[in-house]
């Protein structure tokens, strides 16, 4: 790979300038057409909290600590450990993108250019890096990523992410991505990123037993209180009901 291509790859890292601790506000269009607003609170690469903001979802969270994730729901007394297969496609895709450090964690096995698009075949430098392989397509002229295919260690496609528009091209913050889980038969999911702000994120947010920090989070922003889809009802209990 030429130095120019290496520079192109390094510069195409999405969220490269994102702070280590941040709050991301986003939404995706659910399978039934209803908009599902979310917040992602991240503290480094190892801790992430997905907070569901719709009225029907209040009190529902996904906590990721390292490679393990738990679902916290008002109807369940204890956190429910989630297998990777259960990870919500949109949130998981974005979380994966936020964790991606192309220049640091991957080496380019090959690069091919066709009609102004350079496609890199990337391989993780360490066995614990997720995903183990990435096919990364970059617009050569603008230096922006177009498409990412996350692949398994056996080089089977696992998830496809397409970058549709950008909120901040310079900082590589996308405005809209389309994620498709290739291991499941679900349709493509459109994820819209509404805001990204760097802010201090307390460690207590990720405590599985003590819900007080999560309960103390500011109320959902107004636009997030989207009207529920026809036939939907709120979760029982509008507050986080983790046991003390």
């Amino acid at each position: 790979m030429t130095p120019a291509l290496a520079r192109l790859l390094a510069a195409s890292d999405p969220f490269a300038a994102a702070p280590a601790e941040l709050r991301l506000e986003l939404s995706f269009v659910g399978a039934n057409g209803a908009e599902v607003p979310l917040e992602i609170w991240r503290r480094g690469d190892d801790l992430a909290l997905v907070r569901f903001l719709a009225e029907r979802d209040l009190g529902k969270y996904v906590v990721r600590r390292g490679k393990e994730a738990w679902l916290l729901a008002p109807g369940a007394k204890n956190p429910v450990r989630m297998s990777p297969a259960l990870a919500p496609a949109g949130g998981a895709a974005l979380d994966e993108l936020l964790s991606l450090r192309l220049a640091r964690d991957y080496r380019a096995v090959s690069a091919e250019e066709s009609r102004g698009v350079v496609t890199f075949e990337l391989e993780a430098l360490a066995p614990d890096v997720e995903p183990p392989r990435v096919r990364w397509a970059v617009d050569r002229t603008r230096g922006l990523p177009l498409r990412a295919e996350f692949r398994t260690a056996e080089d089977k496609p696992r998830r496809l992410v397409e970058f549709k528009s950008w909120q901040d091209e310079r900082k590589r913050v996308p405005a809209e991505i389309v994620a498709k889980d290739l291991l499941r038969t679900g349709s493509a999911l459109t994820v819209r990123i509404r805001a990204l702000e760097g802010r201090a994120v307390p460690q207590a947010l990720f405590d599985l037993q003590d819900a007080s920090a999560r309960e103390a989070l500011p109320p959902p922003p107004a636009p997030a209180a989207a009207a529920p889809a026809p036939g939907t009802v709120p979760s029982p209990g509008a507050k986080d009901q983790r046991p003390p």
Partner: protein, 417 residues
């Protein structure tokens, strides 16, 4: 000779050689009885399977959103999406129809069930209304614990019935708590704690490893929806399915969001397959029985004519016509068929009643869990059809020998040794 005289003479001829007649009657009677018993077994199997499927969860009719039902396509085991939002109004309209005992709403779910010790098993579940299911005659095969309560549970008091294979995989018993995780219509996840009210069997070994049932209200809490997947209509008589289907379609016609009304038979391809298989077996066995009866009867009739060549020559010599000779022999065969069928019907009736009284049990059919009671049905059509078939078969078997007998030359017949 008048037909009545021919019939009377034919009966007297049969009485002349009682041993030969008794042998022919035994063959015909055994054939008729075999048909009656086989028909009873087939009818019992069809009826039992049909009612087991209807009252095991299919209902007589299914009402679902037409688009959702079309998307479901041929894969009937895939859960329907919760697309029926105004199901309460639809139900009101349906429950006013004749023959309808109740209309139950179902919400289908798929997800993961987790026990307190962390065991996790995928499930297919259905949210149902126990009170209405009872009115529809749905059966719950409880193995442990108790059935779901009739009233919708309050939040936090959710309960479920687990199929025994699923309960075993999770290592839980009645009274313990499992957490269900399922996807909502938007595609997000939700979780709900449910207490295991009871352990059941679906009757199907494979389904027992994954199935659970919970009250509709609990299923809706888990899926975060007020909609349902479908409505199941129960009728007071399965024979009213056609009329109820037409009435339901008429009652639901003209809606903005069209509904698909599907009879149970279209949702049970397995029933159709079993029916076709059994009918094939029945036709095969019936053909063998008929062939055996034809061969045995033909042999008896031919022997009877060979023994009576001189008698036939004498009859011809005193002026009996060829047609009358043939008619006499055919009438003898018809009597044999009628009397044999009568005896066979009595024998078949006795066999059906005797086997039913014996309380025999059959091993579980492939894929099923429980052995089944052997109960043979009394099929009036089989009695009437069997009798007619035997008379017809005997008459057909007699045609050729009768024609040969009628063609005998008088001199040759009188000199026959």
């Amino acid at each position: 000779m008048s037909p009545l005289e021919i019939a009377r003479l034919a009966l007297r001829n049969l009485a002349r050689n009682r041993r030969r007649t008794a042998l022919s009657l035994a063959v015909v009677a055994a054939g008729t009885a075999a048909l009656v018993v086989t028909a009873g077994f087939v009818r019992f199997s069809f009826d039992g399977l049909r009612e087991a499927m209807i009252h095991g969860g299919l209902g007589h009719l299914e009402i679902a959103d037409a688009a959702a039902a079309a998307a479901r396509g041929a894969a009937l085991d895939r859960p329907a999406s919760p697309a029926l939002a105004d199901w309460r109004e639809v139900r009101r309209a349906l429950e006013a129809l004749p023959h309808v005992t109740a209309v139950g709403a179902n919400l289908h779910l798929m997800g993961l069930a987790q026990s307190a010790d962390g065991r996790s098993v995928s499930f297919v579940g259905v949210g149902a209304e126990p009170d209405r299911e009872r009115r529809m005659g749905f059966e719950v095969r409880l193995r442990e614990g108790s059935d779901l309560p009739a009233a919708a549970p309050a939040p936090g008091a959710d309960a479920a019935l687990l199929a025994r294979g699923l309960a075993e995989s999770l290592g839980v018993r009645a009274g313990e708590v499992v957490t269900l995780v399922a996807t909502t219509p938007e595609g997000t996840l939700n979780a709900l704690d449910v207490t295991v009210a009871g352990v059941v069997t679906t009757g199907v070994a494979e389904l027992d490893t994954r199935f659970l049932k919970l009250p509709l209200a609990s299923a809706q809490r888990l899926a975060q929806t007020d909609s349902v997947s479908n409505l199941l209509v129960g009728l007071d008589d399965t024979r009213a399915t056609g009329a109820a289907l037409a009435a339901a379609r008429a009652a639901l016609a003209g809606r903005a969001a069209p509904l698909a009304v599907t009879p149970w038979s279209e949702r049970a391809p397995f029933y159709g397959q079993v029916r076709d298989l059994y009918l094939g077996i029945f036709v095969f066995l019936g053909t063998i029985v008929v062939v055996l009866v034809v061969l045995a009867a033909s042999n008896t009739l031919v022997m009877s004519i060979l023994e009576r060549v001189r008698e036939i020559g004498t009859l011809r010599a005193i002026g009996t016509g060829r047609g009358q000779i043939a008619a006499l022999l055919v009438a003898e065969a018809a009597w044999l068929g009628a009397l044999g069928a009568l005896a066979g019907a009595a024998l078949g009736l006795g066999a059906v009643l005797g086997l039913n009284a014996a309380g025999l049990r059959m091993p579980p059919p492939p894929g099923a869990v429980d052995p089944i009671d052997l109960r043979l049905a009394l099929v009036p059509e089989a009695f009437a059809g069997g009798a007619l078939l035997m008379i017809l078969v005997l008459v057909l078997a007699a045609l050729l020998p009768a024609a040969r007998a009628a063609r005998l030359a008088i001199v040759d017949a009188l000199g026959h040794v």
